[in-house]
């Protein structure tokens, strides 16, 4: 048994138990990061950084929330930093992502291409939208999106960020921003139709 398994850190009467963090929170935090970043290595690094950063700042934990909520908040902060750095790189490189909108789903007059038209989910399939298989395919489809789209789209669902903040941070104009969200969603839905329906 290692020393750390018996270690508890105590301050202001609040007990934190770093020796339990890996067993109790590592998988949860890893999935939290993977759904938002779609990058295994970055997600793993962030988990380690989160734990070490938490340890360094354990004196600031006042126990107003649970250890899990506190660790998740630290991780979320680090994920937003990754988004910002990704955007800086994308902005600097002016990658194809920001200009190439990919496959065209619409005809010249704006109508859907016949082959790309959304088909209704059957009642049975619609009932399965909650299940893990559907969610897992959805995440795989999200991971196929270009990096800029994935970043902008994911930020949309991060609880604290509203679209104005995201636009400002990513230096993407509001019009272009909605075009990207729209393209990301159209591709995501098409991927689901192909892989799930």
């Amino acid at each position: 048994m290692t020393v750390v398994t018996e270690t508890q850190t105590q301050h202001m009467g609040i007990k934190v138990e770093p020796h339990l963090w890996v067993d109790e929170y590592a998988d949860y935090l890893y999935n939290y990061a993977m759904t938002r970043l779609s990058d295994e290595e970055v997600a793993k690094d962030l988990i380690q950084e989160t734990f070490l950063s938490a340890l360094e700042n354990v004196g600031k934990f006042e126990g107003r929330c649970t250890e899990k909520t506190w660790l998740t908040a630290i991780l979320k902060h680090k994920i937003l930093d990754v988004y910002r750095s990704r955007c800086r790189v994308l902005e600097a490189k002016k990658t194809r992502d920001s200009h190439n909108m990919g496959k065209t789903f619409f005809q010249e007059d704006g109508h859907w291409n016949v082959s790309d038209q959304p088909r209704p989910f059957s009642t049975e399939q619609a009932g399965k939208l909650d299940n893990k298989e559907f969610q897992s395919i959805l995440l795989r489809c999200m991971q196929k999106l270009p990096a800029l789209w994935m970043t902008i789209f994911s930020m949309k669902f991060m609880e604290e960020e509203n679209s104005d903040n995201i636009c400002r941070e990513l230096k993407v104009t509001a019009a272009n921003y909605w075009v990207i969200i729209h393209r990301a969603k159209i591709n995501l839905r098409a991927c689901l139709q192909k892989n799930w329906l």
Partner: protein, 94 residues
Amino acid sequence: MDTDTNKKKDMFSDCEKATLLVEQEQFETLSSEDTLYMTIHLDGCLVCRTYRVQSKEINNTISRIFKNAPVFIRLDETYKQKLRAKINEAVNNT
């Protein structure tokens, strides 16, 4: 018939704009002009109505995944051991 006229986008034909508005309406209030445009288009377009239903379902699912962070994948034990060792080291250096 004039072919160019047939290719012109308008509120009845422009599924691309209507679906963009469908995305926008889920996060912010549309202008009254855009709301009118979308309402008129959706009324006559079954395909875009289907898109709208599915778009909302996808957003709801993503929100749920982001909120609940269900565990789909587990870290390998080797990496967990490495993490434990790092934490151990940091605690002992504190």
